[in-house]
């Protein structure tokens, strides 16, 4: 099953390598990994998407917690939560298809972020599934290049995910 795990880590040299190294050394699957500073500059927050059965996911969480700079982890999959991902996609747009590309962007509420003679670059934020669907629709028009952030997520409600609890 797919799991989205949030990890709070000390914002120090080498943390990312430790996390990536853990996944490769133990043969765990890693679909995406997103890292950025959190509101507290001494900490970074990661969102990690992985797959595995209950036993594997349990080990992944324990192994993550065992890394010294990891402050806290949370398996979002077990909670009411939201997830968002962003994609930048450059699509071929010549005479005949120019309008079609814009129509797709409109349907998915994507933004046009760059316009060139033979292409449009679109930005879309949403759940990963929505991004998948968007890219599927654009594919026949000719995708020149594409980059996705991997999802970030947090739980719903007014509770935060901080060091304290």
């Amino acid at each position: 099953m797919r799991h989205v795990i949030t990890v709070l880590v000390e914002n120090e040299f080498g943390v990312l390598t430790r996390i990536a190294g853990l996944f490769s050394a133990r043969g765990y699957n890693i679909e995406s990994l997103n890292v950025a500073p959190s509101s507290d500059p001494t900490m970074s927050r990661m969102t990690l998407v992985t797959r595995g059965d209950e036993h594997v996911i349990e080990q992944i969480k324990k192994q993550l917690n065992k890394l010294i700079p990891v402050i806290k982890t949370e398996d979002l999959t077990r909670q009411e939560h939201m997830e968002r991902e962003m994609v930048l996609v450059k699509v071929q747009a010549r005479d005949a298809t120019r309008a079609e590309v814009l129509r797709m962007a409109d349907v998915f509420r994507a933004k046009v972020v760059d316009v060139a003679e033979a292409s449009y670059t679109l930005e879309l934020t949403g759940k990963s599934k929505k991004l998948d669907a968007f890219l599927r629709m654009l594919a026949p028009l000719g995708i020149i290049e594409m980059t996705r952030t991997g999802p970030v997520g947090m739980r719903r409600g007014s509770e935060g995910f901080t060091v304290g609890d």
């Binding site: 080498g14 390598t17 190294g21 036993h55 917690n65 990891v70």
Partner: protein, 566 residues
């Protein structure tokens, strides 16, 4: 007061209570070596290879209960240390290794003797640090010792660039270490403890299965012994756990696992409650995992949550330190005021005693024939009253030592269990002898393993450690040969030890005493002579039967109750 990095290094070590460090100098650590020379705060043991420094620190830690400390130079010094770090990681032994590094402005430049030490050792340590500013050094050293010695112990490496060692800053020693991201749990959950006691009192066929943690956590062995005797349950130890319970107590079933006793493996295979304390269900212990303790409910006490339910599902997990949890269990047992199921235990012991009658470790020594390796171990036991500190290399001799030595007390058994590092035993024995100068320390070795760190004879000579090296010389890499005999139709591919040196002359060349023993009748005299020699190391080359096999044996992948007895 302003101090240089190198001065901070020695000041911090002094405050950590470090008395001994094992090391080898080189360009990048010269500032530290200079301070060691000037301040003379602690004793430095010069080894002959950095791998040995780490093994010696490991042996020192096990025998003393303190953190082992090593110091190595950059590049090759650090890469030579890697095996020793990985070994301490696999066996959870507290050590801190300091390595020199090229100056910060040269890092990443392929500089002379540069290695990405933090990168290389990341998966061979519990944690590691690269110190980039002299201002961070004191806190980093404090954290390194804290991490190495608390929770699940393990090796920590601190990489110190040369310019950090020479730069200065205001020195303030951090009295407290508080890490928000690292807070090991020591006390077991009280509700879980009560449930555990309830399960123990209800059990009909219980077994204690205890591991290396009892040898690591000082004071836990006494509590374990108390608990086991109080309940009257049988107990088995892992290879790492030997000495955690007196071998001659009637509750003791011997070691379990691949080369464990028949009674221990049968008891585990038939128990209805398995009480695992500080043991990690290694595959050498479980054999075929689906067939391991199939009828048992499992209680698992471990300080590392990732050990619990990793290989075998724990019905009742307890996260905490073994010593604390054993204390809690004893209290909860008093409070529960129940008694174990005496009727059921009687039947269980009856069954166990039947298994015991197989006498699975039996061997015969023909006093006119060649020496049996097991016989040498028996005599070592007798002549040291089971009280020596025993180190081993890796192979058949290691298993015979585990099966036949018979340990009465904890902290006297130094063996490489997790990584299985040939070359571990001799430097570890030197480390233990440094920790316990008056103790008898014996490295039980094979003719192949001893050659992996033989250069340490020079270290033993220089530092006057009267370690005894008992080589069980079968002219083979015996353990490899045994597998080839059993699983590769006796094709002994490259497992014969050709061109063995004359170990007697070798010992003498290094300045120690060497003896060769070829007849069973001469075994005792040689051991006695070695025990009496407190001035130098002694090498005894016991020429033993060449093709002896270690039994019982559970073939890899088989179930514990499918063991081969002979």
């Amino acid at each position: 007061m302003k101090l240089t990095g190198a001065e901070i290094f020695v000041e911090c070590l002094k405050r950590e209570g470090v008395e001994i460090i094992f090391g080898y100098p080189g360009g990048a650590v010269l500032p530290m070596y200079d301070e060691i020379f000037k301040k003379n705060y602690f004793r430095h043991i010069l080894v002959r290879h950095e791998q040995a420094a780490l093994h010696a620190a490991n042996g020192y830690a096990r025998a003393s209960g303190k953190c082992g400390v090593a110091l190595v130079t950059s590049g090759p010094g650090a890469t030579n240390a890697v095996t020793g770090l990985a070994d301490s990681l696999a066996d959870s032994i507290p050590t801190v290794c300091f390595s020199g590094q090229v100056p910060t402005h040269l890092i990443g430049n392929d500089a002379f003797q540069e290695a990405d030490t933090v990168g290389i050792t990341r998966s061979a340590t519990k944690h590691n640090f690269l110190v980039k500013r002299v201002e961070d050094l004191a806190l980093t050293i404090r954290q390194a010792f804290h991490i190495a010695t608390t929770g699940r112990p393990g090796p920590v490496l601190v990489d110190i660039p040369k310019d950090v060692a020479t730069a200065s800053c205001e020195f303030r020693y951090p009295e407290q270490v508080e890490m928000r991201s690292y807070k090991p749990v020591t006390r077991g959950h009280q509700g879980q403890i009560r449930r555990a006691v309830k399960m123990m009192l209800a059990a009909k066929r219980p077994v204690f299965y205890t591991g290396g943690a009892i040898n690591g956590a000082r004071g836990s062995a006494e509590l374990l012994t108390k608990l086991v005797r109080r309940l009257g349950f049988p107990i088995t130890n892992t290879l790492m756990g030997l000495g955690g319970f007196p071998y001659d107590d009637e509750h003791f079933l011997g070691m379990l696992g691949m080369h464990g006793t028949y009674e221990a493996n049968m008891a585990v295979s038939h128990c209805d409650l398995l009480i695992a304390i500080g043991a990690r269900f290694d595959d050498r212990v479980t054999g075929k995992i689906e067939a391991f303790a199939p009828e048992a409910k499992v209680i698992h006490v471990d300080v590392d949550p990732s050990s619990i339910s990793k290989n075998v599902h724990a019905h009742l997990p307890i996260v905490g330190d073994v010593k604390v949890v054993l204390g809690q269990m004893l209290e909860a047992l008093d409070a529960a005021r129940g008694e174990p199921n005496a009727e059921a235990l009687k039947v269980w012991w009856h069954q166990i005693n039947e298994w015991r009658e197989r006498d699975c470790l039996h061997f015969e020594q023909d006093m006119d024939g060649p020496i049996k390796p097991q016989y040498v171990i028996k005599r070592l036991h007798e002549l040291t009253r089971g009280e020596a500190i025993i180190a081993t290399e890796v192979g058949q001799h290691q298993m015979w030592a585990a099966q036949h030595y018979g340990f009465r007390q904890p902290h006297r058994w130094l063996t490489s269990g997790g990584l299985g590092t040939m070359g571990y035993g001799f430097p570890a024995a030197i480390g233990a002898q440094i920790a316990r100068p008056d103790a008898t320390v014996i490295d039980i070795a094979g003719d192949a393993s001893i050659q992996m760190n033989i250069q340490e004879l020079s270290t033993a000579m220089q530092h006057k450690t009267p370690v005894i090296i008992a080589i069980l010389n079968n002219s083979y890499m015996g353990m490899v040969r045994q597998w080839q005999e059993m699983f590769y139709e006796s094709r002994y591919s490259h497992s014969y030890c050709d061109s063995l040196p004359d170990f007697v002359q070798l010992a003498e060349a290094y300045g120690g005493v060497g003896m060769r023993v070829e007849r069973p009748g001469d075994v005792d005299a040689a051991i006695e002579k070695a025990l009496a020699n407190r001035d130098t190391f002694t090498v005894i080359d016991f020429i033993v039967t060449k093709e002896e096999n270690v039994y019982p044996m559970v073939p890899a992948g088989a179930a514990l109750n499918e063991m081969v007895l002979a």
